[in-house]
C-alpha cells in the first residue's frame, strides 16, 4: 500500500503529511525501495537485476549495494561475476541469494523509504545480522519499514508494531513490548525456543 500497488479502502495514508494519492505514482515509487515477500528476478544478468531501477550503469553503486546485502562474496564465486545470467538459461540462485539480490535492487535506487517485507526468510540469521548492521548505516536518517516474523530482525527498530488479524495489537520498543508480556513476548519466547531447536541435531 505504501507503493500504491493497492489503494487504501478507507482512511488515509500520509507521507510527510501529504496524502499518498496526491503524490504522482512515479515520484512516489522512485523514492520507495521495496523488497517484496516473494522474490522475483528477471532472467537477465545479475547486474541488470540489481540496477533495475537505476537509469544509468554505475559500477560503484553496484558494488556498494552488493556489499550491503552481502552479495559480493557470492558474486566472487561466479565465473562471470555480475554478468552471470539468472534463470533457466543461466544459473539458479539459492533462495537466500535471490532475496539478497532483491534487497540490493531496492537499495540501488537510493530510496527515501525502504520497505523490507519478510525479506530475510531465506537468509541465515548470521548474514541477516550483518546486513542489518550495514543497512542501519546506509539508511541513517531515512525511513525503513521492516516486516518480519523474526524478532531478531526487528528488535532494534525505533517502533515495533504487532499486528494480529489485521489489527494493531501492540506497539513500542523491543524492551517495552517484552514488559507487556503479550503477543510480542509470546512470539519472542517461542522463537528463542525455535532457535534452540535449530541448534540441536
Amino acid at each position: 500500500m505504501v507503493s500504491r500497488l493497492f489503494d487504501v479502502t478507507s482512511g488515509r495514508l500520509l507521507i510527510d503529511g501529504q496524502d499518498i494519492k496526491s503524490i504522482p505514482l512515479n515520484v512516489l515509487r522512485k523514492n520507495i525501495g521495496m523488497v517484496p515477500q516473494e522474490t522475483f528476478l528477471f532472467s537477465d544478468t545479475l547486474e541488470n537485476n540489481i540496477i533495475y531501477g537505476v537509469e544509468n550503469k554505475d559500477s560503484e553503486l553496484l558494488n556498494k549495494v552488493a556489499s550491503i546485502s552481502q552479495l559480493d562474496k557470492d558474486v566472487d564465486q561466479f565465473a562471470k561475476k555480475y554478468d552471470t545470467v539468472l534463470g533457466e538459461r543461466g544459473i539458479t540462485l539459492s533462495g537466500g541469494q535471490k532475496q539478497r539480490t532483491s534487497i540490493a535492487r531496492a537499495l540501488a535506487i537510493n530510496p527515501k523509504i525502504l520497505v523490507l517485507d519478510d525479506s530475510f526468510s531465506a537468509v541465515d540469521t548470521k548474514t541477516e545480522e550483518e546486513i542489518l548492521i550495514k543497512l542501519k548505516e546506509f539508511m541513517k536518517d531515512r525511513t525503513s519499514i521492516i516486516i518480519s516474523h523474526r524478532i531478531s530482525t526487528v528488535k532494534d527498530a525505533d517502533n515495533i508494531i504487532v499486528l494480529d488479524q489485521g489489527v494493531i495489537a501492540e506497539q513500542g520498543k523491543h524492551e517495552d513490548l517484552l514488559k507487556i508480556g503479550g503477543i510480542y513476548y509470546d512470539i519472542h519466547y517461542k522463537q528463542l525456543l525455535e532457535e534452540e531447536l535449530q541448534r540441536e541435531g
Binding site: 500497488l5 521495496m34 528477471f42 532472467s43 533495475y52 538459461r89 535492487r105 525456543l193 531447536l197
Partner: protein, 602 residues
C-alpha cells in the same frame, strides 16, 4: 507437492520452444505415420478419391477441346448440348467427391489427434511428481493443445493436399502429352525457371520462417516473464522502459514476419509471370500451327487452360512447406514429452497384496529431491496393523516427504519401504494406492457435485456408501442442509464451503474407500470451537482400527496415538508416547511448548 519450481517458471524461453524443425524428417514422419496406421482405410480411400478428383479438373479442357473442334466448328448444336451436359456432370461429380474427401480426411485428422491427445495425457499422468516440480504447467498444456493442433493441419489438409497437388500435375501432363507432345514441351520450357525460382524461394522462406518462430518464442517468453513480474515493474517505475523493450521485441517480430511475406510477395508474381510467359509461348507457337492448319483451335484452347492450371499446384506445393515445417517442429516437441522417462515404473512381475493387513516399515530410508540434498536421513520406523503413529517436527523436518514416499510419488535413494513385508517397488502403484487413503492439508475439490467429490467419480461406490461415510465423519448434517444436498454443485474449488466443511468432505472421501492405511496431514488452519470438536471426533473415527500415519498438529490426535515420532532435520530424534517424551525434556518437549501447549489452554 513441494514448491521447488516456484519462481523459475517465468524465466527465459525453454529450449523446447525453439525447436525449429526441418520440413521433412524421415524418422519423425515414420513415427507420425504410426498414428495414421489405424486409419489406413481412410488413407487409401482419400488417395483414391484424390486421384479421381485430380483427373476431373484436367478433363474439362479436354472436353472443351471436343466442344470446339467437333461441335462448334461444325455447327453441331445437339452435340454441343450433350458435351455441355457432360461438362456440367463432371462438375457435380467433382463436388460430391470433394465433399467426401474433405469430410473423411478431417475425420481422420480429428481421430488421430484424439488418439494422440489421449496418449499424451496418459503419459503425463504417468510422470513422476519430480517432473512437475521442474516443468511449468503452461508448457505441458501447450504440448497437449497447440502442438497437437498443428499436427491436425498436417494430417487433415497438409498430407492430403500434397497428394492432390501432385496428382493434378501428373494428370495435366498425361492429358497434355496425349493431345500434343510437341506443344507440351513448348509449354514446359519455362519449367526450369520455375524450379529454380521455387528452389530459391524455399530456401529464403525457410530462413525467414526460422526467424519468425524465434521471434515469436522471444515475444512469448518476454510476455510471460514480465506479466509474472508486473509488481516489480510497477514498483520500480519501469513501465516506460519495459514498454520500449517490448516494442523492440515486437518490432523484430514484425520485421521477421514482413520479411517472410516479402518472399511470398516476390515469388507469387514470378510464378504468375512465368505462367503468363508459358501461355504466351503456347499462343505464339500453337497459334502458328493453327494458322498453318497442323493443329485445331480446340487443342490451342485446351493448352492455354492446361498451362494456367499447371502452375497453381506448384505454387501451392511451396506453400505447404510451412505447414510441414510447423508440424515437424511440433511433433518433435510432442515426442520429446512422450519419450520423457521421469516415470515411477511398475515392476515387471508385480507381487500382489493379498489379505493386506496394513503393516508399514521404513528401513534406513534416505531420500533427496535434488541430488545429495537429503531431506530424509536414515529413517527407520514401523507401524503395525491398526496402529496410529503421529509424526511431529518443525517445518522442513521432512514430514511431508514421508507421505510422498509411502505413496510412491517419488522413489527413495537408499534403504527400503515395506508394506506387509513387501518392498513398495515390487508391487504396482495402483495396488498400493488403492489401499492407502490420503487426506492432505490443502484440500482440492473438483468441479462436480458433493457426492462425486466424495466418491471421486468412482461408479462402484453407491450413494448409500457416500452418505454413510459422510454421516460417520459428521459431514452429513451440513451437506443435507445444502440446497441440493449431495447433488449440490461444488463451485470454484469449493469457495462457498467453509474450511471446516471442506475438511469434513475430505475425511468422508478418505473413509468411503475404506483403506487399510490412512495418511492424514492435519490442517493447521484454525476453525471455530464447534467445528474443531466435529473434526476431532471425525479424526478419531477415521483412525479407528486402521493403520494410520498422521502428521499431527492437534494435541488431541497426538495424545491418542500409539507412538509419536519426532522428526528433526530429516532424522528421527525421539520416539515414544506423549508422556514419555514430555518427561524426556528433549526436542518434543520444546515442540510441545511451541506448538501444542496453547491448545491445552483452550
Amino acid at each position: 507437492m513441494r514448491g521447488s519450481g516456484k519462481g523459475n517458471s517465468a524465466k527465459g524461453t525453454s529450449q523446447d520452444d525453439e525447436i525449429l524443425g526441418k520440413a521433412y524428417d524421415s524418422k519423425l514422419m515414420k513415427r507420425l505415420l504410426s498414428y495414421v496406421k489405424p486409419y489406413k482405410k481412410y488413407v487409401v480411400a482419400a488417395i483414391f478419391m484424390n486421384i479421381v478428383v485430380a483427373a476431373l479438373g484436367p478433363l474439362r479442357p479436354y472436353l472443351t477441346k471436343i466442344a470446339i473442334d467437333d461441335y462448334i466448328v461444325n455447327d453441331n448444336y445437339q452435340g454441343l448440348l450433350t458435351i455441355s451436359a457432360i461438362l456440367f456432370g463432371t462438375l457435380i461429380f467433382q463436388a460430391i467427391i470433394q465433399y467426401f474427401l474433405t469430410y473423411y480426411t478431417q475425420l481422420m485428422g480429428q481421430n488421430i489427434i484424439y488418439d494422440l491427445r489421449v496418449k499424451l495425457f496418459a503419459h503425463v499422468q504417468k510422470l513422476s511428481l519430480k517432473y512437475f516440480d521442474k516443468t511449468p504447467i503452461g508448457r505441458i498444456v501447450t504440448r497437449v493443445t497447440n502442438d497437437v493442433e498443428s499436427l491436425n493441419e498436417l494430417f487433415s489438409s497438409g498430407i492430403v493436399m500434397i497428394f492432390s497437388d501432385v496428382f493434378i500435375i501428373i494428370w495435366i501432363l498425361i492429358f497434355m502429352f496425349a493431345m500434343e507432345w510437341e506443344l507440351t514441351l513448348v509449354s514446359l520450357s519455362v519449367l526450369p525457371f520455375l524450379i529454380y525460382a521455387t528452389f530459391l524461394f524455399r530456401r529464403k522462406v525457410r530462413e525467414s520462417y526460422r526467424d519468425v518462430r524465434f521471434q515469436l518464442a522471444r515475444l512469448n517468453s518476454y510476455m510471460q516473464e514480465h506479466i509474472t513480474g508486473m509488481s516489480i515493474i510497477q514498483l520500480f517505475s519501469k513501465e516506460k522502459k519495459e514498454r520500449k523493450n517490448f516494442a523492440e521485441i515486437n518490432e523484430a517480430h514484425k520485421v521477421a514476419n514482413i520479411n517472410s511475406i516479402f518472399y511470398y510477395a516476390v515469388f507469387f508474381p514470378i510464378v504468375e509471370i512465368l505462367s503468363s510467359g508459358a501461355v504466351a509461348l503456347i499462343i505464339w507457337y500453337g497459334g502458328g500451327n493453327v494458322i498453318q492448319g497442323t493443329m485445331t483451335i480446340g487443342v490451342l484452347f485446351a493448352f492455354i487452360q492446361y498451362t494456367e492450371m499447371f502452375f497453381r499446384p506448384i505454387r501451392d506445393l511451396s506453400e505447404k512447406y510451412n505447414i510441414m515445417q510447423t508440424a515437424m517442429a511440433s511433433s518433435e516437441r510432442i515426442f520429446k514429452l512422450l519419450d520423457n522417462k521421469t516415470i515411477i515404473e511398475n515392476p515387471e512381475l508385480p507381487k500382489e497384496l493379498k489379505n493386506f493387513r496394513g503393516n508399514v516399515d521404513f528401513k534406513n530410508v534416505w531420500f533427496a529431491y535434488n541430488n545429495d540434498e537429503y531431506v530424509l536421513k536414515d529413517i527407520s520406523f514401523s507401524v503395525r496393523e491398526g496402529e496410529t503413529v503421529a509424526i511431529v517436527g518443525a517445518t522442513g523436518a521432512g514430514k511431508s516427504s514421508i507421505i510422498n514416499l509411502l505413496n510412491r510419488f517419488y522413489d527413495i535413494n537408499k534403504g527400503s519401504i515395506l508394506v506387509d513385508g513387501i518392498d513398495l517397488r515390487e508391487i504396482t502403484k495402483e495396488d498400493l494406492r488403492n489401499r492407502i487413503s490420503i487426506v492432505l492439508q490443502d484440500i482440492f475439490l473438483f468441479s462436480g457435485t458433493i457426492a462425486s467429490n466424495i466418491s471421486l467419480g468412482d461408479s462402484t461406490i453407491t450413494k448409500e456408501q457416500i452418505i454413510a461415510a459422510a454421516k460417520t465423519v459428521g459431514a452429513d448434517s451440513f451437506i443435507s442442509k445444502l440446497p441440493n444436498g449431495y447433488d449440490a454443485e461444488v463451485k470454484e474449488k469449493g469457495a462457498t464451503l467453509s474450511v471446516g466443511q471442506k475438511q469434513l468432505i475430505s475425511f468422508a472421501r478418505a473413509l468411503v474407500f475404506n483403506p487399510q492405511i490412512l495418511i492424514l496431514d492435519e490442517a493447521t488452519s484454525s476453525v471455530d470451537t464447534e467445528t474443531e470438536i466435529l473434526i476431532q471426533q471425525a479424526i478419531e473415527k477415521l483412525l479407528q482400527n486402521r493403520t494410520s500415519i498422521v502428521i499431527a498438529h492437534r494435541l488431541s490426535t497426538i495424545q491418542n496415538s500409539d507412538k509419536i515420532i519426532v522428526l528433526h532435520k530429516g532424522e528421527i530424534k525421539e520416539v515414544g508416547t506423549h508422556q514419555q517424551l514430555l518427561s524426556k525434556k528433549g526436542i518434543y518437549y520444546k515442540l510441545y511448548q511451541l506448538q501444542y501447549k496453547d491448545q491445552e489452554l483452550k
